[in-house]
């Protein structure tokens, strides 16, 4: 029997399945686009026009200058000028105030005679991320003001610190989420969709028919997996292109190397998907396993959103058995730092090791089923 022809007939069927099922198409192409755009435009730590309340006990020229400086950036907008301490909390409670700056009465005297003055910043700690960001910005603005003042009066012992962010000079969040999104999307499509499509054959009873046919089991699995491998790869390229043209995320390293490594990762995810499918009898089962076992840890523990190194040790270990963790490192290396294969050998090695491990487990499970 001509296996290539048989295989082709099988692939054709898979293509019909995918084209007929709108939900699949939506997940395949709608989700990556939506996710990139949402991450790109909505999820950002930057803010504009944060509402600041000011309690100015000094009410002199210096404090006016400071206030003008802080609000000149466009990041802060004066919400209210407070008159007394007891007015402070109501702004936070009603949600209209984001930050309060308190200027003491002796502000200018302290500043010019003692070289040190104190400013109090009060932020809403119920939203820690936002509070942190606001505090950082306000500090920077106040420091800027001091710098300006003292440059004119030429005070000594000022240390100018100049920082430079290598590989991402403007600290664009896109530099982080484009690699992260590629890793997640490829995982969802490759692992979840293949485990779903294999589980569907089992659920509908058609797997039985295929197994009774002369098709070798390996061809069945390959036939189910191949179309998704190609589609995942197209998605990876799509996200890279969106990242490049919409969010200016560059590919500094070799594009060919990048695409090759995408392929390696897709195969890792596909072998994981087939492993999941051998342990699930229904689509719902496969879906739950993919969502809880794959998507959640990959989102939270891969270093995509939270840095791995600041996690408790046990979570770090879990993070290190997740393929996405290594792939995000690989992507950042090749895309942003422009490194060659020699710098990411360990990560690539881990992915290859995982492929072998997943496939071995899948094969064992499969054989047990047949016996």
């Amino acid at each position: 029997m001509n296996m290539i022809k048989v295989f082709w007939a099988f692939i054709q069927k898979e293509v019909y399945h995918i084209l007929r099922d709108r939900r699949t198409l939506l997940i395949l192409f709608g989700m990556p686009i939506a996710q990139v755009l949402i991450f790109g435009f909505a999820v950002t730590n930057e803010f504009k026009n944060a509402n600041i309340d000011i309690l100015d006990h000094a009410k002199d020229q210096t404090s006016q200058k400071l206030i003008r400086h802080v609000t000149s950036s466009g990041h802060f907008k004066i919400n209210r000028m407070l008159l007394a301490e007891h007015e402070m909390e109501s702004g936070f409670k009603s949600g209209k105030t984001d930050l309060i700056m308190v200027i003491p009465a002796d502000f200018s005297k302290d500043l010019y005679t003692w070289d040190q003055a104190e400013i109090q910043l009060i932020a809403d700690g119920s939203d820690p991320n936002m509070a942190n960001a606001l505090e950082q910005y306000a500090k920077a603005m106040i420091n800027g003001f001091l710098f300006q003042e003292f440059k004119q009066s030429a005070k000594p012992y000022l240390i100018g610190i100049e920082t430079r962010m290598l590989y991402n000079p403007l600290l664009e969040s896109a530099y982080n989420f484009i690699p992260g999104t590629i890793a997640l999307i490829l995982l969802i499509i490759s692992a979840m969709m293949t485990s779903l499509t294999i589980a569907r054959e089992k659920e509908q009873g058609t797997m039985e028919i295929l197994l009774v046919s002369p098709l070798p089991p390996l061809l069945i699995i390959l036939g189910k997996v191949a179309p998704y491998a190609i589609l995942s790869f197209i998605d990876a390229v799509l996200i890279l292109i969106m990242g490049y043209f919409i969010f200016d995320v560059p590919v500094t390293g070799s594009v060919i190397l990048l695409l090759l490594l995408c392929m390696v990762y897709v195969i890792t995810a596909l072998s994981l998907g087939t492993l999941i499918s051998t342990t699930s009898e229904t689509q719902q089962d496969a879906m739950m396993k993919s969502l809880i076992g794959l998507l959640m840890p990959s989102t939270l523990l891969s270093g995509f959103i939270f840095p791995l190194t600041s996690m408790p040790e046990i979570l770090q270990y879990i993070g290190h058995i997740i393929p996405a963790t290594y792939f995000i490192e690989i992507l950042k290396g090749v895309m942003l730092r422009g490194v060659g294969i020699e710098y990411i050998l360990f990560e690539v090695g881990m992915l290859l090791f995982m492929i072998v491990a997943f496939l071995t487990l899948t094969w064992k499970k499969f054989k047990i089923r047949l016996e």
């Binding site: 029997m1 001509n2 022809k5 048989v6 082709w8 007939a9 099988f10 054709q12 069927k13 019909y16 399945h17 007929r20 099922d21 509908q204 009873g205 058609t206 039985e208 028919i209 295929l210 197994l211 009774v212 046919s213 002369p214 098709l215 070798p216 047949l370 016996e371």
Partner: protein
């Protein structure tokens, strides 16, 4: 070649301590309609999986379509057809695409597939709906189409696993006519069913109880042997 399509001796399947199929032996002649009955969990499915090459027997011997069930199970697969109660076609493919797919899987040439498609569509009077999705067909039509497709590669034996589950009496009757026609062409039919009146349509019937074949004969002889008026009574007497 001998005149039997299925011959098994002392076929046994154990899952750990549990014996699902316990030393079954029987022969099925070419062109025979062989009913394979038993309560749920009696071991029917396991036995059928061994005969269709899906499961390896723990012990025992046998041939199906002339091939050894232990050594040549891959060859068996090319000579048998299979249709299950869990509907065995792809609902989101059209009638014609389903025929093409299974023709392709069984290695038919494009020419053969075209001819077979026309024959099947014509015989089942499905020509007009050939480009409709299978999901849109009434259950009875689907089942007859699935049966026709299970024979697309002219197999020696067709295994039918509760083929008439859930269809109305009229469609069941039609389906059995199709079975008779296939058997008339010399094909062996191996059928499991829950409808005991259908057992009467079989040439011979075996009844499995807890992994063993407790009775095997023509329906007439079985009724005589168990002093029962219908196959239903035979079954109840045996299983209880």
């Amino acid at each position: 070649m001998n005149s039997y399509s299925i011959e098994v001796e002392n076929l046994t399947k154990k899952f750990g301590e549990f014996t699902a199929v316990d030393n079954i032996s029987f022969k099925v002649a070419k062109g025979e309609i062989f009913g394979f009955l038993g309560a749920n969990g009696a071991g029917k499915t396991t036995a059928m999986r061994m005969l269709t090459g899906l499961s390896k027997p723990t012990s025992g011997q046998g041939t199906v379509a002339g091939f050894n069930v232990i050594r040549d199970h891959e060859k068996i697969k090319t000579r048998i057809g299979y249709m299950s109660q869990k509907f065995s076609l792809y609902e989101d493919l059209t009638v014609r695409q389903n025929i093409r797919l299974f023709g392709g899987i069984y290695g038919l040439s494009n020419q053969e597939i075209r001819e077979k498609s026309e024959t099947i569509l014509h015989d089942l009077r499905l020509s007009e709906v050939s480009s409709k999705l299978v999901a849109a067909l009434p259950l009875g039509w689907k089942q007859r189409l699935a049966f026709a497709i299970s024979m697309i590669h002219d197999p020696d034996i067709v295994f039918l696993d509760e083929p008439t589950g859930g269809v109305d009496p009229f469609v069941r009757r039609q389906f059995w006519e199709a079975i008779y026609e296939a058997a008339g062409h010399g094909r062996t039919i191996f059928v499991t069913t829950h409808y005991l009146d259908e057992a009467e349509y079989c040439d011979r019937v075996s009844i499995m109880v807890s992994g063993r074949i407790e009775a095997l004969d023509t329906p007439t002889n079985l009724k005589k042997q168990f002093n029962a008026s219908t196959m239903d009574n035979v079954f109840v007497k045996l299983v209880r």
